[in-house]
Symmetry: D4
Subunit: 249 residues, 8 copies
């Protein structure tokens, strides 16, 4: 709790250096979801301060950073590596970064998350979802580029999801957003629609995809916001982990 | 061309009684599309005046009236029947009405229009399209309620469209609007997406369906506005009739 | 597959009487979700025809009808009761109706679905969700009117959800839509946000509620469309039933 | 179908290198439309991989790439030229690129596509449409800059379309989007409205143009999304080619 | 200026009976536009009180009432007739009503306002504009139903506007809203676009028409809001009257 | 906390009768704002149950009901009057209703709230605000119909607000929403803009008014949602009462 | 009218070099408005070609270019100066450029256009309007930065407009867009509202300003689109020039 | 009041150099709010001219500049420092800059403004609000990063606001915008919701946050536009200063 002194010019900068990060280190325990720092629009130093504080306060040192730019990722790697924190960056376009203690790989829960994308352009959001689910201990079964423009490509992946025992599936699509409805009409596990910002013109940037998923005629489909791979991955993992825990008990 | 006299109270009503209908009786010849009077929001007397004038000026007496309410349809039937004009009303929820001389049934062109609906609620817009296409001389091959919530229902109708030699297909869908993209990915003739106002919530009233069709990932799909069965039917018939004319020549 | 004859006036009505219902009686087996007929905007006779056909083709006779008006519900009750189908209607404002054979009460799966509403006006959507989940065999643990305008009311219900072993929670809210984000920040099971059309002005009719849920800062929250109790209930039950099945195995 | 290994950091990159392109090489045969890779937002290497795979799997080697940036186009030219694939780029602002085997120029079908633009700024979308239609074997009859601000400019082009026997016309317009409605009121072949993102302020970026076309009072006009030259060209060619095939039979 | 007493229950009603009408009787002198009471949503008694007060304070007794329902118009006629005020109601669908002293017909200014409508459904907004312009002393030269679906109908009216010496034209259109842009490209006087709420689907209710007019490619076109006949008529009359006054000076 | 029994048909109705009202009787003490029941969309019986429970639990028996329809208000009056609760209804179009014990008139706090409306149609929202402020003990100084179409009407009311010592002003406007910005540029106390749903066409229903207030160029203006008289009145009273309390201390 | 040869790769570039500019050199004579080339989004060479052709075909050589970037303006200056065309660029932020023969300054018509801006940020749109009006021969009487945040600043400019005999006024405002309504309530000549894209947040970019003007409660106000100084200036000049011509006759 | 000469090219630049800044130096006295120059989109020289003029005309020399870019801030510092004006810049991301005479620090009024942010990304808008409130003499009590994703973090700050005697609170949130409603349900002083542009996807850029606040179910919450820290700070200070003045009197 910071009280601003009456001389704003001296006091404010002191307050800002200390105050604006108020991290929530117990989220993993309370929620089953690791802390995820949203780096877009944050000065890199602010992101570093948050990650550093969270690493210090948690046993696993596990912190995810989403939507970090080049500068932020470089800063974290340089600052955290020397103090014994492993910083891992996704090789694809997904701007997800994980820091964790060397001794804390994700514990495999046995949960299985299916992941399908409609097009190759949907990869960044799908990657974001995959990383979050994997850091939460799930196995991810994935097939890409199987959208409705050529529906015959969908058969094999659906058979595979069933064969692998997927507890839930994330279906990723931009443009017309039709794939999640199609999949949800065919499978007997819950489906999370993840619309992406692929597409231009009216309804572009993912708006048509999201609206079409919200309007689905196939009950069993729920959605997250456009490009919100973090939300899709975290919820899918919560579902799969709960099923896996029941299997073990 | 009406000039309003300077005393508006006497003059205006005289003008209004004579002026506001300025019909286009040569549309059939110029466009290949019969005149279609849009009755929504028009006083029934105004619709009657337009239909009467068009009937008088065209050889076939063919005039279509869309979106007429009960009162309008009754008025037309009562006023036109006695003067030798056949007034036919759709038995379904479609508010299409055709007037034509007894001697002027539609001439069969040989054009074939496919028509698929995603759900039973899409029937009114589909009926509107079917009537217009049929009044323009096409044969309509139709299957209803084959949406993506149960995609296996789509196989037989698609085989039938191919067997019947459809020149073009109208695919009607509300809610998620996914069916036209799925169909367009599978067939080798042009597809016209006809979104309907079925659905509620965000993207409801046909907005999501229309946007999803505009964002289609399957080239070969064009669209008309929500519930615009007239536009879909007229364009499909223009296409099919052009193909049929080429077949004959 | 219906082919329209070239005389539209006789043929079309015959087609319409037979064609527009193309039901999907195996959905329960394929999806784990019973067939749900969306009655809004459908002529009552069309809804009856669909229900009758589905009842005839399924062993349980279980069919849900959502958003039926007074006339539709009365028609179904009158027509189905005499042929040995139990027709049950929700006592609240929810326009859900279930038909089922007398010998087919829902089989209890052991799945537990939590259900919280922000205000008393949210009841209809919540009821819709509860009925679907219960027909799918789940136990529903519910508390109403615990929104953020008086957050202290939330403590007891959250303790109860945990005590009862909820596998998933549906959190229902209109207006500001803040409750699902608050709940999702506090619990370790997945949360489905169900926005309702309560509220007026800009963002009214549920738009602000839905957008706020889509923008949640608490990972683990997924959403359905405004007032889509059917979708929320079906997905929640799919999740809970999968966990329950794992518990039993 | 790719299964992600439980160690995400090693496995994910391997998966990503192999998986996200799942091309559809039979589209030309199934749809009559060549495969078109949408390059916007894709890393250039991903586009190259897709094109390379498609070229390898199709006899003609015909692949279109839309919305490629400078870097993507350069990469394709450098990588495909040496292996005997001809890479051709539009000289105008249209970001369309065609690769094809030297032995596979487009086969002339005899279909004729009319193409009108309202203003010189509409050229990029018009070019995109023209290229697609020409790669599908059509002859394109075109006139530019004939919008409603000076309607007298429209007469000669309309006479020419008729003289050349256009089977269908694409009418391209931004800003007010009025030209397609005007043309559709005057001609007896189907018209495809192609709105462009020209214009600023409320309704800018093509929104007013698209909405005005959707609201057309001239039946016979269908639309594609803003700047979607690919969709307009592909559908126009499907129509014209079907007519041309009928002429030949 | 009313102060609410501390006992709201007695005081408020007294205040409301006296306070909420605060009329502006000098608008005619200050603005050259008569007072126009907007009756939509007002209790009829409130409208009557406003009209009565304005009639009492102005020499001409001229007050226009727009958008009055049946009940309001009846009330005004009954209450004002007996006290020597002439109440005149439009015979068409326009809900405009004029009260004026018997001795105060509009003084002819010599200003000439052209008025064109795209379709017969546009009549109510056009009538509203015509009445306002005529009460402000202008002559209105009008032609109806000359929209772009059949552009040949436009020639005669445009010649007439020129022949009659129109100082300004109001062009009324719903749906695609294309007519005002077409007219503005052809004439050398200012054009006021008056969009109407005719049309359904996306961009319906006049939105597409308004946006298309705002995006016009023909400089010289300004607009008012959807169905705002009062605004179009008043501004056109201000322009025409200013020109007429200059002609006389 | 209600647990739904496994037999939904018997249990659900029992739950609904008991559960959905979960009132917050300490709001007056905690917030300084009385409980306000939003009756729109609620069955009258549900509103009555909420009011009855609140009356029973609070000393003053003060409960406000907003947006009750005729049936709700009649039901409350009939049910509460006999048990010694005074039910008072606004004489204007405002659908506010207050119940309170006979012995609990509002205690005058000394706070002064100014209230200005742009037009007579804005009265219902203004009345709602006035009633809430008065029930919270404030004196309301009000002037109606002083909008920017005749700005000279504003001078006297502004002088009066200053003379009466207004601590805060609510400025109510629909259509263009310009009045709050004008007032906020002239006075030295905070202004709350209350947009109303007066107006039609694009930006109608209060949207333009709200947006214009949000975009104000005059710092010192805050807003509530369209027609939210309750929110404006409650916040104004919180401000005025805080100032009044400071004056007394 | 250009026919595309069947070999697109050679032919298309030839066509594009010749075809896409189809200028309208008689607009000045037909409309009373000079040709104005909209340069945004056009390649500079395309703009130059249009200007060059127009200069060659009109006696005055007068061509306006709006929204040209630095590169376009430089290119025009370099290319046109040597061939005897005077190229003049606005010194302010307005991106208007005029080319004209040395012997063709604007002929003063005697028309007077008032011009007011709400804030200094509105200058670019106001400048665009001023230049167009002046090139059409009008005198512009202007005052800046007189918005409603300090309404007292408005008195002197309004007196000046009246003193100078303004025939019409353009009132420019962004953000709340309140100034045009205020001015229109006070003056007896027509007012053109010119909204600007100044402002951020909801309703930003000029949307709130435009909507507020469309919703004006002061009849006599018409609008153009956001930042459309060209449209405002051209229409104002058409009005003023018509009045001036009447004064002279 | 500037009259543009008939030769626009010479005259316009002279006018523009002198005219477009029309400052309002008495705002501090009239409104209690210092003059705040909005620098976004203004050429730096224009901002400097406005600040210089205001500094010259006010005793305190106090001028705030919001949203100045690097170049503007540098220019002001360089130009004003040498003439004895202290230029102070916020150390955080807030682009606020204050100029004031050395002898004019803000006079402490005794008003207390609470300030809470939901996340660290909300800092820039919060800083803007804090600076304005402090320049108006208030003490600011602040806590950051206490959003609803972890609601337990909120307890201590709320206790502190009460302990410090906050007269009003500004609650800053992006994304779901839930925090202001939660806070407003718990405290007895007025709350100003300040939505920020944090967030992506549908409802992103602050739209969902703003709409959720407008739809609040907790009376006592008013809002300003997205990122409008200036408006929130100024209004909060007006409230707090009025309370403080009453305490002193």
């Amino acid at each position: 709790m910071a009280e601003l002194p009456s001389d704003p010019f001296a006091g404010l900068s002191a307050v800002l250096a200390a105050a604006p990060v108020h991290v929530d280190p117990n989220r993993q325990a309370r929620k089953g979801v690791p802390e995820i720092v949203y780096a877009a629009g944050k000065p890199p130093q602010l992101t570093l301060r948050a990650v550093r504080e969270l690493v210090a306060r948690t046993a696993s040192g596990r912190v995810l950073v989403s939507r970090g730019d080049r500068e932020t990722i470089g800063l974290l790697r340089d600052a955290l590596g020397p103090v014994g924190v492993q910083v891992v960056e996704a090789p694809s376009a997904a701007t997800i970064l994980v820091s964790r203690a060397d001794s804390a790989p994700p514990v495999q829960t046995g949960g299985v998350v299916g992941l399908l994308t409609a097009g190759a352009s949907d990869a960044p959001a799908a990657d974001e979802a995959a990383w979050v689910a994997q850091e939460m201990g799930c196995r991810v079964v994935r097939a890409d580029d199987v959208g409705v423009a050529g529906l015959h490509r969908l058969e094999a992946p659906l058979r595979a999801l069933r064969a692998e025992g997927a507890d839930v599936a994330i279906v990723v699509a931009g443009m017309d957003g039709a794939l999640p409805s199609v999949v949800s009409g065919l499978v007997d596990f819950p489906v999370i629609g993840l619309p992406t910002s692929v597409g231009y013109g009216l309804g572009g940037g993912g708006v048509a995809a999201l609206l079409s998923m919200l309007q689905t005629c196939a009950p069993g489909l729920v959605v997250v916001n456009i490009d919100n791979g973090v939300g899709a991955g975290a919820t899918a993992a919560l579902i799969a982990n709960r099923v896996a825990a029941a299997r073990k008990s």
